[in-house]
């Protein structure tokens, strides 16, 4: 289906607002699960927004901006997954793979802007030397608006202006290619999980990975909350144990043994 001018403008407004949050990383409304939902509302297909949100969120789960690294842009990936699925009729899983070039474009532009913004630091230095609080505030706000405007323009161009060539291209794809993208969409959450494990997995907690896996494999559960609660119980127990152990060791020392 086609995206109207009004829908295109609303999508880029959504991108503008969410991009402010993406820079700040405060309310997390830039995560695919939220932007896909709102994109779905704008396009009048909430169902699509929900299913796209589920696949895109999982694929981008471990792709975090920790320590200043910039991953493919999850906000742009979220909006474009919904847009591509809506305009060309492919499933959300297949659209996720097709949204990757846009997410990468967002990543590169983000890196360029963060490099260019280094040029603001001498200005900030001079403001600080003057002790001008209001001027520093203006610099901070304007630089954030600048980055958000760029994201809004990218979304307007990709979602509205070039939707026809994209749709025409996707419609020419043979069935096996679309199916291949869908298979990839089902596998991509693995990347996010592997990246989370890269930072979290240690020899002392590797057993918990398998405990979580086995419970989820053999017990049918609506969501993962029960396992999270179980994990909290386990960490609490081990904290109590180590505290008691410490008290016990301390007691021995007091007795002078």
């Amino acid at each position: 289906m086609e995206i109207t001018l009004v829908q295109g403008l609303l999508l880029s407004l959504l991108a503008f607002i969410c991009s402010l949050d993406q820079q700040a990383e405060v309310f997390l409304i830039f995560r695919p699960i939220v932007v896909c939902f709102f994109s779905g509302i704008i396009l009048g297909d909430v169902q699509l927004g929900l299913s796209a949100g589920a696949v895109a969120e999982l694929a981008y789960l471990g792709l975090l901006t920790i320590g200043g690294t910039v991953p493919p842009n999850p906000l742009i990936a979220g909006i474009m997954t919904v847009v591509i699925s809506y305009t060309s009729g492919v499933s959300a899983e297949a659209a996720l793979g097709l949204s990757l070039p846009f997410a990468l474009l967002g990543q590169w532009i983000g890196m360029i802007l963060s490099t260019v913004y280094s040029g603001l630091m001498p200005i900030a230095d001079r403001i600080c030397e003057r002790g001008d609080v209001a001027a520093l505030g203006r610099l901070v706000i304007l630089s954030a608006i600048g980055k958000s405007l760029v994201t809004a323009v990218i979304i307007f161009l990709s979602a509205y202006l070039i939707q026809e060539p994209i749709t025409a291209l996707v419609e020419k794809f043979p069935e096996w290619l679309i199916h291949g993208f869908r298979v990839a969409g089902n596998l991509l959450p693995g990347v996010g999980l592997a990246l989370l494990l890269k930072v979290m997995l240690k020899i002392d907690n590797v057993a918990y990975l398998f405990i979580g896996f086995l419970i989820a494999t053999y017990i049918e559960m609506g969501n993962v909350l029960p396992i999270a609660i179980l994990a909290v119980c386990i960490t609490f127990l081990s904290y109590i144990n180590s505290r008691d152990q410490k008290a016990y060791d301390g007691g021995v020392d007091d007795d002078g043994i």
């Binding site: 990383e25 699960i33 991953p71 990757l100 002790g131 901070v140 954030a144 592997a194 979290m200 907690n205």
Partner: protein, 263 residues
């Protein structure tokens, strides 16, 4: 000459907590969060020193160098630095405390908010989405609204602890990070079978009759998704393959397998 200093109120620290949400505005590779970090405190430096612009400028200049930590922890540090500034501590000391703490605090904050709260909330929201419930995105937003405003009590904590904060962090950072690790790893383990669909179609058989997927299911259900994640983990952590290459690789291999009818 002694410098006169005004006291900050509880309300000031709360407002500072809200303002600290701009931490990453103006982010750049040269000094990362420096601009937002400095601006969060600037209005309160002004409140402390009043019309004494020289002192305001000195306090601002002291906080505009390289800075990068987890966002909630930055608010904690903002509170801590304001209490030190208000007490008239030496600026060199303030600078050293700031530079010494932002690294360990980043590890602590990442473990709690980004490797534990985010995956768990995303997992819950995704499962709701899959039941076609609009509660998915709503629950996600509610959880992270509370996550976002939790920086305000953290700002108060930093302000109230003052210099005591340093010992507290040293004693507890390691054990909290470890506990968050257990929680996060167990949830990731549980996500593997639910969210990765790695299975061969029934039409893919060997010896003309034996479906390949059936063999794997007999050994251990979901063994393929588990093996797949462990393989990716091996690639990212031992071989340092970057995420973008991995994503491209998965798409290319999926398309090839699809072409040959294997998946």
């Amino acid at each position: 000459m002694t410098v006169s200093r005004n006291k900050l109120t509880k309300k000031d620290i709360t407002n500072m907590g809200w303002l600290s949400m701009v931490l990453q505005f103006g982010f750049n590779y040269e000094r990362m969060q420096a601009m937002g970090f400095c601006y969060t405190m600037a209005p309160y430096f002004k409140k402390i020193y009043g019309d004494n612009t020289e002192e305001v400028a000195a306090a601002m200049t002291n906080n505009i160098d390289f800075f990068n930590t987890e966002m909630h922890m930055a608010t904690f540090l903002n509170g801590l630095i304001l209490s030190l500034e208000e007490a008239g501590e030496d600026r060199e000391l303030i600078r050293n405390i700031k530079n010494g703490l932002f690294g360990p605090l980043a590890g602590l904050g990442d473990a709690i908010f980004w490797f534990t709260l985010l995956p768990i909330s995303a997992a819950i929201a995704v499962s709701l989405n899959r039941q076609n419930s609009i509660l998915g995105p709503i629950v996600f937003m509610v959880i992270h609204f509370f996550g976002a405003i939790s920086r305000i009590p953290l700002g108060h904590l930093g302000y109230n602890l003052g210099t005591n904060a340093i010992d507290l962090i040293r004693e507890n950072a390691a054990s909290i990070t470890k506990a968050a690790g257990v929680l996060g790893v167990m949830v990731v383990g549980a996500l593997i079978p639910s969210y990765i669909d790695f299975s061969f179609p029934e039409t893919f058989v060997i010896f003309d009759v034996v479906p390949v997927q059936g063999i794997f299911d007999t050994v251990l259900p979901n063994i393929l998704p588990l093996g797949f994640v462990l393989f990716l983990y091996y690639l990212v952590s031992k071989k340092n393959v970057n995420a973008v290459k991995l994503i491209f690789g998965i798409i290319v291999v999926s398309i090839i397998l699809s072409y040959f009818g294997i998946m």
